[in-house]
């Protein structure tokens, strides 16, 4: 029983790792808090579920990636061409996507996939349909998709365009003086990031055999929490290390959630815990500085008679 639960957690961890990779690209690399994420996650799940319901699960996976890229493009356009702050641009796109997602799911808030082929049933057939295939097809599929995405992302970030995107987030001054058009690199970065997020939503929809409008709430925070857990585990370093950390962090996050649930914590509490993890982890340097200053003041007060 526990093994099955753990396996399920690892599988979900791999799926959500795609969001962590997306945030590594937008938040860590481009230094943009991209709130499109919540919307593009649902967009991906809606596109993928709708396509699977129509009998095209594999096309749905490709389609959700493209749809996510389109969503990222809208945010990038609002930010780079219409000069709207990145956070607001993301919120605008996310809000608009709510309606788009409703359209894609045929006007329903919930789209269950009943007795249709998914990429997982296809994988089971491909693996021969035996008992082992039945047991591990899902794990193998999600691990394969996520690791492939991770490897491609790592390779991409070492190309001319990838290096330019990283420099855009790292030093804007340098970018202007080194033949990089920041509007272009930000656009490419946000398109890719939201493509990855939507891919996560798409894989999840076929994995849990349903899509739901409220699926995306808090995805950006969960993704950040995973990213940060991964950074704590592998320490920050080169690109390959960070990408591996994001995937690992997401798996660890899901496993921790299983333990939390086993300890009969209310699932509704999990989002508050995630929010706290992210707030503390990102705010840690500032908290540490304050503590240091307080100690310094106390020390000065003690010996400070003169």
């Amino acid at each position: 029983m526990t093994v099955m639960l753990l396996q399920g957690a690892v599988e979900q961890g791999f799926v959500y790792a795609l969001v962590a990779l997306a945030l590594y690209l937008s938040y860590r690399t481009l230094d943009i808090a991209d709130l499109t994420t919540d919307g593009s996650f649902v967009l991906g799940s809606a596109v993928s579920a709708a396509a699977a319901a129509a009998g095209h699960p594999a096309a749905g996976i490709l389609g959700c990636f493209l749809a996510g890229m389109a969503a990222g493009f809208v945010t990038a356009f609002l930010h780079t061409r219409m000069k709207i702050q990145a956070i607001l641009a993301g919120i605008i796109t996310m809000t608009g996507l709510y309606t788009v997602n409703l359209w894609v799911m045929g006007g329903r808030a919930d789209l269950p996939l009943l007795k249709v082929d998914t990429i997982f049933t296809l994988a089971k057939t491909l693996l021969g349909g035996g008992e082992l295939a039945e047991q591990y097809a899902e794990l193998i599929t999600v691990a394969l998709i996520t690791c492939l995405a991770g490897v491609l992302l790592t390779l991409f970030l070492k190309t001319r365009l990838g290096l330019s995107i990283r420099a855009t987030g790292d030093n804007r001054d340098m970018v202007a003086a080194s033949s990089i058009d920041p509007a272009f690199t930000i656009t490419v970065g946000l398109c890719l990031a939201n493509g990855l997020t939507a891919l996560a939503g798409g894989v999840l929809a076929q994995y849990q055999m349903s899509s739901n409008l409220s699926l995306g709430t808090g995805v950006v925070v969960i993704g950040l929490a995973s990213l940060i857990i991964g950074e704590v585990v592998v320490r920050r370093g080169g690109v390959g290390r960070c990408v591996a950390g994001a995937i690992l962090g997401s798996v660890i996050y899901r496993v921790l959630m299983v333990f939390a649930l086993r300890a009969s914590a209310n699932p509704a509490n999990l989002k508050l815990i995630s929010a706290c993890i992210v707030a503390v982890a990102i705010g840690w340097p500032a908290l540490a500085d304050r503590a240091k200053l307080a100690r310094r003041k106390a020390a000065a007060g003690k010996g400070g008679q003169n």
């Binding site: 991409f156 001319r160 990283r166 420099a167 030093n171 001054d173 970018v175 202007a176 080194s178």
Partner: protein, 269 residues
Amino acid sequence: MLKLEHISKTFDPGTVNEKKALQTVSLELADGDFAAIVGSNGAGKSTLFGAIAGSFFTDTGRILLDGRDITFEPEFRRSRRIGRLFQDPLRGTAPHMTIEENLALAYLRASGKGHIFSRVSAKEKEFFRQQLAQLGLGLEDRMSQPVGLLSGGQRQALTLLMATLVTPKLLLLDEHTAALDPGTAEKVLELTKRIVEQRKITCLMITHNMQSALALGNRTLMMDSGRIVLDVKGEAREGLSVEDLVRRFHSSTGRALDDDRILLAGEDN
């Protein structure tokens, strides 16, 4: 190589802050010219660089680089052929990327070959290592370290290498040693001289050091109130002392040179 035809730039026109930063400046640099620019604060030196590099478009005039009209080319496109260094050594490099990645970025962008997905080959990495070794700072053994770990002088030397890795048509140096300690500044200046002269790069350098304005390169320009008021090269430049320069400035502008920094820099040498 570089030709400026009557370029002007006025900031905030029609307001109380109106500033005529460049007033019909014309300048022609020959291939391989290495010119030093001096002038007091607000004389328009950095504005001149901004106009050439494309940080803004000029109000009038034309800018030609290597025979090509670049007057309205955006900055990021010009910078493929124009290298630029600033006073702040942190401006030219990406701190969280490694030395190798910084060099790879500069190389892949400036060389213009390949496509957006091209990566550096092992051969090119070896080339980076050789180039780094020539700086004599030991950076060739630290290629996989983030640039943020380097000192200001090391970062400026790396920026210089990045700007010249693929020989640019024009190199703009905006007081690029002014923020470094004297010893390091000396070293970076020496490197600059070596690279520019070895590769015969056409170069403009802003400095507040009158001595080096006369000693470095083959031409000295002096700016005041948005104009080039003095342009000496060749025989006229040889044997010119800092005092001569100050006197010539006075006779051509009718004012005394009023920048302490320039005068002090002239004295302590």
